[in-house]
Amino acid sequence: MAKAVVTVIGKDKPGIIAGVSKTLSDHNINILDVSQTIMSDIFTMSMLVNLALLDEEFNKLQDDLNLLGKQLTVEIHTQREEIFDAMSRV
């Protein structure tokens, strides 16, 4: 099962989680895990999501999330999970 990590970094404001969740839900994507903190006004969130049904549509999801990032003026990265594992595990 392919998974991706969606990270959001930027100035805190209303609607970030709502916006990201809605985009994910529009793509019929299940959120598996969420971690979120606010460090002196900077909002940081990482979401682990299930890509199983979405291999073909990865690019479309990434485009939509990038667009959302622009609207919310936050940085959104969508990356496949393997990159994070590769770096920190033997």
Binding site: V5, T7, I9, S35, T37, T44, S46, L48, F58, N59, Q62, H77, T78, Q79, R80, E81, E82, I83, F84, D85, A86, M87, S88, V90
Partner: protein, 447 residues
């Protein structure tokens, strides 16, 4: 998975310029040889455009999915001198244009392998290739060339060195920048993904994917965190960082090979700088504790860095190859350029540094009036370091007509900008003009 892990990876890319420097597809051209140069050239174009058709598309998709930039997509081929055994220098242009056209058709950044291996002597194809270089390097855009003039097993071909000195001058007379596309090697490796020296050795599989990782910025940032601690802590830090960087290369390479349906070759774990600030090997050395690269201690710091990169990277990859170490090209490294401008980094020091790092005198601009035999003698010195010490060395030197010491020459893009450096003005002509062959060194009685 921990959030710190995620943030670390994202910062490496966003702030510390972590990237995959190159995904290079190595393609054997041994099965393209036909009766005439024209037919062979046609086969070459056909084979490259068939196998590399999706190379750029696949790597771009990988960049996207993993959020890791892949700076260059490249192709390396069997040394063309072997393919063009019977050709005349003029006929060599068919091969060169076939490579250039194929590279453009598939959209890669460079194609390497316009190469000859003459460490022991010249065959017809070798001489034809070398004689064609001034035209080929100025009449094509993406073709990169290399000539191997020495090896630990065969010794050093002084005739070839003399010829290369003259060839470099002849290239300069046609173009100030074309020499950036050609490198003279001793102990060239057969699976190097980096340019200008990439070629696909005859012992390699038919088609493979080789990957070159980069990331001096990541190493520098890691060393910043151990300021003042003992030198073995620095070595450990570099090892751990090299491990992480190489893991990315391994993953990307394996995936690219799988999606392209070809074999995965090697990961070359080199610290390759780019002209961008913060992506500099010089800055890593300075972070280890040198006020400026080129000062006393530079060679020792570089030796530690080069070795720690290998040790960290070897375990992170299935198969390591290529040059694997630290690159010190002057024009491509902001810190090196600063040190040359300040008069701290000299050609003599650079030569010493090449004895302990992965390549040689790389991307160094010198005055245009430098004699061909002086350039040849520089190549001979580098070859001697490589041949005696069982390592690869290389010379990519850039004489520039009309340029004076201190002038800045722009080579464009990743090739950067180089300050013209002074060379020793006493002649080496009588040495070079002797010609012949320097015997291979003996490798017992080591002292």
């Amino acid at each position: 998975m921990e959030t710190t892990q995620i943030t670390e990876t994202i910062n490496m890319v966003a702030e510390e310029h972590l990237d995959i420097r190159t995904v290079t597809m190595g393609i054997s051209l041994l099965d393209t040889i036909a009766g005439t140069p024209q037919e062979t050239a046609k086969n070459i174009y056909q084979k490259i455009t068939t196998y590399a058709k999706n190379l750029v598309k696949v790597t771009q998709q990988i960049e996207r999915e993993f959020g890791i930039p892949i700076a260059n997509k490249r192709i390396s081929v069997t040394p063309i001198a072997l393919i063009a055994g019977k050709a005349t220098p003029d006929e060599m242009l068919y091969y060169a244009h076939a490579l250039d056209d194929a590279a453009k058709a598939v959209g890669v950044d460079f194609i390497g392998g316009y190469s000859a291996l003459v460490q022991k002597g010249f065959a017809n194809g070798d001489l034809a290739l070398i004689k064609s270089l001034p035209r080929v390097l100025t009449e094509t855009d993406l073709v990169m060339s290399s000539v191997n003039i020495g090896s630990t097993k065969a010794g050093i071909n002084l005739d070839a060195i003399k010829l290369m000195g003259e060839t470099i001058k002849a290239i300069t007379n046609k173009s100030d920048t074309a020499n950036a596309k050609m490198v003279v090697f001793a102990n060239a490796v057969e699976d190097n993904p980096f340019m200008a020296g990439a070629f696909h050795g005859v012992s390699e599989a038919d088609v493979v994917i080789n990957v070159g990782v980069s990331g001096p910025g990541v190493v520098k940032r890691a060393i910043e965190k151990v300021k003042g601690e003992s030198i073995q802590v620095v070595a450990e830090t570099v090892k751990k960082t090299a491990f992480k960087i190489t893991r990315v290369g391994q993953m990307v390479g394996a995936l690219a090979a799988e999606r392209l349906g070809v074999e995965f070759g090697i990961v070359d774990l080199s610290l390759a700088p780019t002209p961008a600030r913060g992506d500099s090997v010089a800055e890593v050395l300075e972070e280890i504790g040198l006020e400026m690269v080129g000062t006393h201690g530079t060679t020792a710091a570089l030796m530690l860095l080069n070795d720690a990169v290998k040790k960290g990277g070897v375990m992170a990859s299935q198969r390591v190859g290529g040059l694997s170490g630290a690159f010190i090209p002057v024009s491509e490294d902001a810190g090196m350029i600063d040190a040359v401008k300040a008069g701290v980094l000299s050609l003599a020091k650079l030569e010493a540094m090449t004895a302990v790092c992965s390549v040689g005198l790389d991307m160094i601009a010198i005055p245009g009036e430098t004699d061909a035999t002086t350039i040849a003698a520089m190549i001979a010195d580098e070859a001697a370091i490589g041949v005696q010490n069982n390592k690869t060395t290389a010379v990519r030197i850039l004489p520039t007509n009309g340029a004076k010491v201190g002038d800045m020459i722009d080579y464009g893009g990743l090739l950067g900008t180089a300050p013209v450096m002074p060379v020793v003005e006493k002649s080496s002509a009588a040495f070079i003009n002797r010609g012949g062959h320097i015997p291979a060194p003996i490798h017992s009685f080591k002292n």
